[in-house]
């Protein structure tokens, strides 16, 4: 659909041990956390360990296990979520290839007796990493 917009250009941030990038929904309508079924984040071909991935949305941070039951927080079409994970990347002028994979459930499209349609989308963009600023 609009997978070319998943990664927000220029939003790669590193603190030396973790990286984060802002991501946009590749769908036309809001979806609840429960429909954000999975993600992968890799920089220059190195994937962040799945257990270290976190999803930031509406000012809250979730593990993907926590998203399973989350029907209160929604990903709105014009909002950026933040995907982060453990990866060592230096904050310098070097360009990095960022890849994000997303799996989303589309809750109103039922394709089998008990099966909801899911879509798998990905995006790749190149950008430098900025240093995280302490809050």
């Amino acid at each position: 659909m609009i997978a070319d917009r998943i990664i927000e250009q220029g939003t790669l941030i590193t603190d030396g041990t973790r990286v984060s990038v802002e991501v946009r929904i590749p769908w036309y309508r809001a979806l609840p956390g429960s429909c954000i079924a999975g993600a992968a984040l890799s920089i220059d071909g190195v994937e962040a360990p799945a257990a270290t991935l976190r999803w930031g949305m509406n000012g809250r941070t979730f593990t993907f296990d926590e998203l399973v039951g989350e029907t209160g927080e929604w990903w709105f079409p014009t909002d950026s979520a933040v995907l982060s994970g453990d990866l060592v990347v230096a904050a310098d002028a070097a360009e990095h290839e960022v890849r994000v994979d997303l799996t989303l459930y589309i809750p109103y499209i039922i394709i089998g007796d008990d099966e909801t349609l899911h879509i798998e989308e990905h995006d790749v963009k190149t950008m430098p990493a900025r240093e995280a600023v302490a809050a």
């Binding site: 809001a30 609840p32 429960s34 429909c35 079409p77 014009t78 809750p107 109103y108 039922i110 909801t116």
Partner: protein, 370 residues
Amino acid sequence: MTALGTPIQGVTLYSFTRAFHGREYDLEGLIRKVAADGYGPGLEIIGFSSFRGFPEIDDRFAGEFRDLVDEVGLVTTSLAVNADIGIHRDRLLDQDELIEYMTRQIQAAAKLGFPIARVQISITPDSMERLAPIAERHGVTLALEVHADQYASHPRILALRDRYERVGSPFLGFTADWGATVSGFAPSLLEAYRRRGASEELLSRVVALWDEFSEQGPPADQADHGQRFGRFIGLAAQNGRPDLGIDFAINGTGLFGPARVDDWLEIMPWIKHVHGKFFGIDEHGEEPSVPVRDLIGLLVRNGYSGAVSSEYEGWHWNNWQSPFEIIAAEQAVQRSAAQNAGSRMITDAAEARAALANHLPHALMKETNA
């Protein structure tokens, strides 16, 4: 003899998804543009796309929204709502939960001033029957969307129609989506595949496969639909582009439905709203794969004076042209077709309000409704 209809021109903001999602326009800015550039007066919105926190709508926001629509001279027609039956990862909503989920959205439609709520095929005849008194209480007509791969004479749609007839509520009807009655594989999508490196030979085979299905008529049932879906996937694989298979199949069966235009006559009295689904405009200013002129002619001859929301779907793949000019051109085709049929499209807001009230005479059209 039925008096000629005067359909109300309008648009769904879904047509501008790329501009809204890309933050070129916020909701207010987009509504103002729709009014200023003459895409109205009919205004359709998808609740979960445009309203943050939907279906919760607070009083202040609802008031501001209604004031804005009035100020710019638009007329709210349909609020597109969703039956998110699969919202929980581990199970589907049961019927009681679904009724409660839909009720909240019907309440939102009333509060925002939409006389129609577009619902989708996953709502069964039993659920529609249970929702009828709720729709009536809120003065909102439920118009279930007939969308490819279904079509008016599809068994599931006829089952709904028969239930509507038995229930006898004027608050139950259909939204006719023109994607069910398409006349060809959209050239703009072929161009998108071309830009993704698909060969002319492969594209001609895609067109030939769609034409073959079109000659056979729409799929008889879900099994037939599934077979066609599989044929598109197979075609892509056999021609060295398996990566395009799902895309061919989803679009070839789910967007371009091959029913004939007069298939709509099966449900015409129950058509409360229309999605003027289309995919592009060619160098002659015509829609090359949706028979817009025939469809408008059919509506006019059958006395339809409800709204037609231009629903541009080409934005999924067409990232090289602005949607705004394309939608304006499609609406020009609609107006021309209505004139050729001896009538016209309504483009004045006051006249549209009166026509809609006449089209939905049962609706309470409440000014405020929590």
